[in-house]
Symmetry: C2
Subunit: 400 residues, 2 copies
């Protein structure tokens, strides 16, 4: 099918684009390259040396891939351009990664909060509005986050989107209702994915759009089968305090001899998924669209849950890394349980890459290999959730 990938230059969008191209789809990437501009703004670079979009696409063709087109367009700002693209391309599906995706970046300053809300809300709403406006009946697959739920679930296993509850009517009867699972986002970024969820529910109801929302855990890993084919195809790997996700940050810290900085007690339980599984999930979601008039399909896109301190200890075991307990720059519960249902993807054939098999490869093939590119000063998480929090900086920094 013909698929537009919005945000196809990013950490998830790029490997997803290659994977979907590789299995025979006509892929067009739409991106405003904002993630690279934010690198410049923050004074950091991907640990891996990523090529320009032009080099990436040329390398993909040269290695035998189906040609991928690229359109430089800001989905949040250029509605007319987006509409014209839908009208001329008439895609069968759209995968929407085109949002600011880092919680710490979204909390960094009032400007960052406002950018994240404005950019993410308008990007998503423009896509929905343009689908109705153009009359294109494309299946929209959106990358959401498990973080819409927060991390306190009263011992419940988080269902896939909808929750059965009992309510009491005026006459005292108990009535069963199916509702969207209540949200409790932990950052401005996570909150924007709740806003998205509201937009999706409305457009699925009023305009019968076909929408799948993937509530994803924290991604780890870097390479997929496709990004390994040529170094110009390499995926980005973020290790800085704003964009580096916890597991990748630990891997890099382990590789460069920087203590693994655990925020607070490290008792936070998080959901994880390997990047190879993410691209497979996107494929599976595309192959299983809802019907027009259905509710939004919501899948939990994760394969394992772990406490942060357990991850640090696991990595310490397979490498020589040390652990530093540092202040938590986030406002969150020190310890939380997390139980998640992920039957849909497993039933549809996902065969997860587990941490136990993949971690060592990442340390050696990615983090150690590119370690000399790291700017260690950029590692600690310094974006604070409120003025009462402290940055996640270890007391003793390694000499470099």
């Amino acid at each position: 099918m013909k698929i537009l990938i919005l945000g196809g230059d990013g950490f998830c969008g790029w490997p997803a684009s290659l994977h979907l191209s590789d299995i025979g789809h006509d892929v067009m990437i739409v991106d405003n390259l904002s993630r690279r501009r934010i690198d410049v703004e923050l004074g950091v670079e991907s640990l891996t040396p990523i090529a320009t979009m032009e080099e990436r696409l040329q390398a993909w063709s040269e290695t035998g891939g189906r040609p991928i087109e690229f359109v430089n367009l800001d989905v949040a700002q250029d509605y007319d351009g987006l509409l014209e693209l839908l009208q001329t391309q008439r895609p069968d599906a759209i995968v929407h990664f085109a949002e600011q995706r880092a919680a710490p970046y979204s909390m960094k300053s009032p400007r960052n909060k406002r950018y994240t809300v404005d950019n993410n809300t308008n990007a998503t709403h423009n896509v929905l509005c343009a689908l109705v406006d153009s009359g294109v009946d494309a299946h929209l697959v959106h990358l959401g986050t498990m973080g819409v739920y927060g991390y306190g679930t009263a011992g419940m296993k988080i269902p896939e989107g909808y929750l059965d509850v009992q309510v009491t009517t005026e006459t005292g009867d108990q009535v069963d209702q199916k509702i969207l699972y209540p949200t409790n986002p932990g950052s401005i970024y996570h909150m924007t994915k709740v806003l998205d969820q509201t937009l999706f529910a409305y457009y699925a109801k009023n305009d019968k759009l076909r929408i799948t929302d993937l509530h994803q855990g924290i991604i780890w890993g870097t390479h997929t089968d496709q990004t390994l084919r040529d170094e110009r195809l390499i995926n980005r790997f973020d290790y800085d305090g704003d964009y580096g996700t916890v597991l990748n940050r630990f891997l890099m810290q382990a590789a460069v001899g920087y203590p693994m900085t655990v925020h607070g007690t490290g008792g936070q339980t998080r959901a994880f998924i390997h990047i190879r599984d993410m691209v497979r999930c996107i494929q599976i979601a595309l192959e299983n669209p809802p019907a027009n008039g259905d509710k939004v399909k919501i899948f939990n896109q994760m394969t394992e849950t772990h406490r942060v301190r357990d991850l640090a200890e696991l990595i310490a075991k397979i490498s020589d890394a040390t652990v530093a307990y540092v202040p938590n720059p986030r406002q969150e519960a020190a310890e939380n349980e997390l139980h998640v249902t992920n039957d849909t993807f497993l039933d549809l054939g996902l065969n997860p890459t587990t941490l136990s098999e993949g971690l060592l490869i990442e340390v050696e093939d990615v983090a150690r290999k590119y370690a000399e590119r790291a700017d260690l000063d950029k590692i600690p998480a310094t974006s604070l959730w409120t003025a009462q929090q402290q940055p996640g900086v270890p007391e003793q920094l390694p000499v470099h």
Copy 2:
């Protein structure tokens, strides 16, 4: 106390500003006059002849009112201006009416959908962000809508914001949880108030802002004690298909001999509140703020529920009006029940103005008095919820 009224030039904002000034508060109106610009865009005018903001404020001072200041500022666009205003004024409270508030206008075109989402989300988020940024601990009172819930409530009485549900844990235990009452908005406009609710919940949790969200029914009536003091203080009265709310539209149709256009079967049940009660509710909400760290206080701000066709029949009885059943331009259930809890305001002393006592006054004192200003062509509701709906135009139009 010192109170900023965002959107203080509008249908609710203006009488609320005068009422709060009249009971002794220092009121500053912040408005970008967007509602007047939309009049120009739609080619309509308020049925009542509203004065300019400068004339309004002069008349208020001349009739003995405490002087009210006015700042022309776009809350959604001019964050720096808003922040500076908070820093210099340091208000005790902010009442936030500064949103596009008509469901039909929000559905009129892709441009209108996008404007409503962009404007309302950024206005609300800018206010929240500026409160944190400035460190001003003002109580934020927001005008929301009963319409966040949609109109199908499975026989339940809609509680004031939060719903007690039972969920089943992994171990099979039943656990009680308090969640935000699930939403089901019926238009883009109503949906933006769900987005607002998500923003409020987040900022109350993360930043301990003190927020009250008023889920208001449909306003009817025009005058308050204060707006009656001088004709230059008169409030706006909208009768057009986009901004005219159902009851005021019926009153005007009755006054000018235009059949009262009932959409569909008229079986929709709606919640109503008189504009005099609205200003009292704002006062009561301001006098009863939540504490820092509390959840958002949510009140249902309505006093009566009625089926639309019953209202039309009621008005037909007290005037010579006829009823025309026309297609429903909205996508909604033909008939719905609506049961609402409104104990908070009643317990805090609200003494409602009932339809039975107020309707005839409105027909005579407002609708008939200004009938010659009406443009009958602008009455029918023509903004369609989807391309499948039909405009609410009667088959036989009155000759004029």
